[in-house]
Amino acid sequence: MTDANHPSFLPTMAQQVRRDILRMVHAVSSGHPGGSLGCADYLTALFFKYMKHQPQPFSMSGNNEDVFLLSNGHISPVYYSVLARSGYFPVPELATFRKLNTRLQGHPATHEHLPGVRVATGSLGQGLSVASGIAQQKKLDGDNSLVYVLTGDGELQEGQIWEAVMFAAHRKLDNMIVAVDFNQKQIDGSTEDVMGLTEWSSKFAAFGWQVLEMDGNNWDSIHQVLPQAQAATGNGKPVVIIMKTEMGMGVDFMMGTHAWHGKAPSNEQLESALAQLPVTEFGDY
């Protein structure tokens, strides 16, 4: 098996994660493949290289380790895949996604005690507030580890996000790295058409945040910007990465459209999609 430090490890893992996403969503004819595919590279990079975290035994408190919150909880397939494959729970459990009695609820939840999940998300706009609370607690306790949170770009339409943006800057929560999934798509169309205020960098900067921009589907960009983001912590300001991604990345017919935000592929579509993402050495679940 490829060494985790080999340059091909992360792209190969991300490819396997994309296969997981497609197969999970297809199996229950529901779920959100588009954003999941777009964020597969970033979450793979976080969970397999950049975060200092301890999958086993899972600690709900997250004290003295980096923690990650998925504020846009609907892209649970990618979250569950990286959690399982980084060791939080058995990979075969991915087959239970969205099925009755599963720990892998449609949107992430703590209620069934799935290791890796620390708060329920799905109703949008709340994760950044919770992450701010964790960042504040870490500061209070002298814990120098980091808080990572991913939000959607459509999610920035929620007012609570900006309450949290103010709070984090005011409280100097410089131990938090937020990535905004800037795929410019949401359920009803392009973010520009739905609520056209999508130049985010200047807005975050105006609120007193450090702003970085990254191509979340380009490994060179990820390996350049994520270390920059980590280096930017501890400077009195929270850090945000405006992360450009392509919804549906990796599957030709799912890219360039918002149609696959929350739609499952048919049998034929799955076959076509998987053919573009051959099985890797990590194997299907």
Binding site: M60, V119, S123, G125, Q126, G133, Q136, Q137, L140, H170
Partner: protein
Amino acid sequence: MKSYEILGQKDTRSGFGAGLLEAGKQNNNVVALCADLTGSLMMDAFKDAFPERFFQAGIAEANMMGVAAGLAIGGKIPFTGTFANFSTGRVYDQIRQSIAYSHKNVKICASHAGLTLGEDGATHQILEDLGLMKMLPGMTVINPCDYNQTKAATIAIAQHEGPVYLRFGRPKWPVFISEDTPFIIGKALMLNEGTDVSIFATGHMVWKAIEAGHILAEKGIHAEIINIHTIKPLDDAAVLASVQKTGCAVSAEEHQYNGGLGDSVAQLLARNYPAPMEFVGVNDSFGESGTPDQLMEKYGLTAQAIVDAALKSIARKG
């Protein structure tokens, strides 16, 4: 009818403030957040004693609830403070997802509940909060009746693992629960044993129920008066034992009929021991501006209303 000496006139929110300070002294993990109402919530003493553990959230209640959930994840015991209206209806989804469903150890502390908020009017007089909160699975809902009970409840919830809604009020109100009365979450407090009717009262209406008990006693009626400070989990055993003895019930609360204490008692009785029951509360209406006393009179939250309800309930026993 047992007599209760009035030990003073104090607001229940001051009981919260005193309790919070004490809880903060007892446990370093107790932290507090407030949405620009620190003075109104009487949180200044905590803020001054533990400035590093107090977080001003600004006028941003939704974020405050999320931050509290986050603080709880790493082991803090966050107390949020704002008016009851902004502690519940305004932030219902944040409480539902980030606190209740996620089972975070957050104490949602809510002042200025009900009509006794007074002149600010119906925008601020929430009468639906008990219902909103008790519908959330796993949420403990507490509505103490005076300064001492509110202080004791505040200290008790810090030691309780799980989300709690603690409701209290603005006006000075008779203090009659002794300082050393233990506060046990979920355990009803017997205030007067009687045989003719069971009066279940919560919050400010507990004192009204005691006044009603005296009026009823003059008529030769022995009312059993039980203080239900914990609406959820309800002390089923205490309620059932009392109604099995008296044969009829009255509920009294500063809240809508819908969703309140009366609802909970009625459900319990319907399932286990159907009996005549009357309700003292607000009947599907918003409040308005006025003094607390004027509003309690106009909306039927008086000792006399409890007396009338008791007589009606007794008459229905047949």
